[in-house]
Amino acid sequence: MIKAEKLTKIFRADEVETTALNEVSFEIKKGEFVAIMGPSGCGKSTLLNILGLLDNPTSGKYFFLDREVSGSTERQRANLRKENIGFVFQNFNLIDELTVSENVELPLIYLGMPTRERKKRVEEVLAQMQISHRHKHFPLQLSGGQQQRVAVARAVVAKPSLILADEPTGNLDSAHGEEVMNLLNELNVNGTTIIMVTHSQRDAEYSQRVIRLFDGQIINENIKKSIL
């Protein structure tokens, strides 16, 4: 599903040049649950942004669904994103002015789905995330755990084949964190590919494979024995 070949990302600010990713290569198959770990500043989020088509690499090749996308335009990336990728962020990133339903509905609107179908899908996914009773509330009226469930609902509503989660439990207490991890696990069991950036060893336990980054390079890839 995903193949990275010598992905490099260099940030330039005035006279300082920072190499956030240094010739990173790996492959992720459809249906995998992969955790990316490493200390702060090792390039995890940069990698996730490139994988999520929010950013382009400075050099290297990125194959997404067997298509080379590293040099694609913003418009092409936007189209690929809305059809294939769902995002879950550490700070939820819900739009405060929209209700729970409306937030979840947003990706479907950008996909151009007819209203009736959209409403139905939103209802289904809210039920699945057990947040239906809050569908008319605004994000700021919810607890952190509830907000992240809404965020996950939004990420999966368009039935993307890939979910990218950036520290999905980072802002949650352990009980809520576990809830969210179970949701992601369930999605993975049902066939969704998940790539998750995390600091938490506990969260990483849910994944089948861990890619460890240090100073922009992969230092090792652990494939869990249970999978082998």
Binding site: S45, N49, G52, L54, D55, E74, R75, A78, N79, R81, K82, E83, F87, F89, N91, N93, L94, I95, D96, E97, L98, E102, E105, L106, P107, I109, Y110, L111, G112, R154, D166
Partner: protein, 798 residues
Amino acid sequence: MFRNYLKIAVRSLMKQFSYTLINVIGLSTGVAAFLMIMLYLQFHLDFDKQIPNRERLFRVVQIQQADGIGEQHVAVNMGPLSEALKAGLPEVEDAVRIMNWGPMPIRVGEDYYNQDKVVWTDQSIFRLFGIQLAEGDTNNLLTEPRVVVLSEQLAIKYFGSVSAAIGKTIEFNHEEGYLVKAVMKNQPEETHMPMEMLVSYPSAEQRFPWLKDWGSNTLSVYIQLDHPGSVPVVEKKIAEQAKLFFDEDDVDRAPRMYLQPVGEIHLRSGHIKFQVNSRQGDYRIVLAFMVIAILVILIACINFINLAIARSVKRAKEVGVRKALGANRQNLIYQFLGESMIITLLSILASLILVEVSLPTFNQLLDTSLKIQFLTNPIFNIGLLGIWIVVSLLSGIYPAFYMSKMQAVDVLKGVRAKNTSTSGYLSKSLVVFQFSVAIVLIIVVIITTRQIRYVMHKDLGYNPEKVVGVLLQGGDNEKNALLLKQELRNQVGVQKVAAASFVNGVAGNQSTISVADSASTRLMARFGYVDEDFFPLMEIPFVEGRNFSAEITSDANESVIINQAAANALGWKEAVGKQFNPFNTDTIHKKTVIGVISDYHYYSIHERIEPAVYIMYPEGYGVVCVKYDQNDQAAFVKRLEESWESVFPHRPFEWVSVGERVEKQYRNDRNSATLFTVFTALSLLISALGLYGLTALRVEQRTKEIGIRKVLGGSIWQLMVMITREFLLLVALAGIFAIPLGYYMAQQILNQFAYTVSIAWYDGVFAILSALFIALLTIAYHAQHAANANPVVSLKYE
């Protein structure tokens, strides 16, 4: 998708209510000002719309070389000109003469009237001015002498109804037997040439045979060309073929002529003397208002742009999320433009209420009759739609592009969207622009207000206080003036009475006179007909010689008094005793100068005082002036009316207050100045509102910085200085740009006056200081609020 945009737009606008309010107040005020000025513009451009072939109809204007005055443009011409042009130039399809000598005496049965808007004119008036009849037939209507056509309202005034008027006769200008052959529809008010009564031109030629001479110069001539493009050809031919039109003797003195499009008469005739131009406008004033309208609306749009950019920091997250979820730039641009369209629409609705509320005052100030008419004024509706689109785009397009450009990755990474250097500079430049405009307007207002005050208080050279003029009616002026003077002299409260051609002492006509024994020394002079009481009554001092005297019999025929301007034009150090060749209706007696009066403003201060000569000519008296010592003018005039009725029972009583007449001459200036002041205040208010919002957002963005500075020991005062300095510097910079422009514009306005105040260096300084003061007041609130805030709270918040 649209519903989603709408929803988020409405919610986000509601959430930041104060921001929305600032935008709506600013934009609606701007749009209201713009709408009113556009209605005002439409009012002016609608003048003379009833004329069928407006683009091909021209007024013939002469350029005269007036002795003692210099070049002057006049819209009066010779009696034979129109026919000569029509016969001699193939490009001239049609022509008409219109002669208007002001109010004319009319008698209907036993009742006398002093009828205004009366013209002698040709049959072609119906074709060229699009006049339609309510009753009667236009065929050969005005080709015979002693035929008149009344307007509907005049027919009703004189005879009770339109049909009753037909076939009746009236006495016109002291001649019996003028037949009312037709009644025309009332003419629109928006015309430079209002007509209530048409008198056949042959009546004028029969009564005044000299009208057939090329030497006469007393009526307006309009010609219709085959094509608007023929103007240069026709002008050239008139110049080349003067011989065809003028007698051999007069060819040398043939004036230069040009054609003025009828469509330009209303707004572009400020330079023309001797013209009928009812409710004359000035394109410069209209233009100035238009510029102000555009600037005010631009300032309001700038508020929108600046506040949107400043607010973008807050909305960055939304942009990032939307992008991550698949929104492309186009989606976001539509969304933000949608928001600006909603705000603009709200503002337009609010502005319509504002316009409706303020139109009566506006109309009163500008002597207009503007109305909002959705049904009958399609241009207004199209205009509104245009404003909606243009303002929405103008204010929404940059923020839309700016915000949609933000990268999702930056936003979501938690990197706060910063004001990039371009948007920072843009914001600052826009604030500078806003305040430059405000300061320019302040400078203009300061200087024009001073000029108006100067004009209102300038010594006019006479004392118009407590003087009224009673208009003589129905002819026999010499006898009637004497009768009235005798009657009024004994009335309670009357101090002095005098007879004159008009309350300003001059008759309105101008002619060339020549100095005796020197055929080449000539003077173009205004004539004034006054008796011996006029100058003392008006308190006009003599600089040389003496006044007329009833005891000195030769004064009636041989004496003349001139003003200083005339003496100066002729280069006379001592004028008394100098002589002129016979002039006016007395072609026998030479006139000897017996006195020189000090110059006084017989017309408004807009015009330079021109040479004037005064003679005792009782038939030319049109008014009896009364100086009174009563405080209640209305009661005094009431008693005057009673006296009038005892002397002239069948004649209408009409009077003018000299003081009010003077005041009226500057009313337009004062009203324009008032409006300029209002618009200046508005532009300042909108700019200040914008600055208020901008400071609020800037302070919010700098909460953390302010908190850290406080923790590190910054005093409240230091922090306030830090916050206010940023903006005050911009206002000061605006001042530097504004001063030259403001001085230039003020000078342009002063150029309209012949006598002006001077522009001082401190006008600009004062304008900048006022702008700084207002800016400081605006910023201070937020600055002290931020500086006083508890740093712990602000740092935690961040």
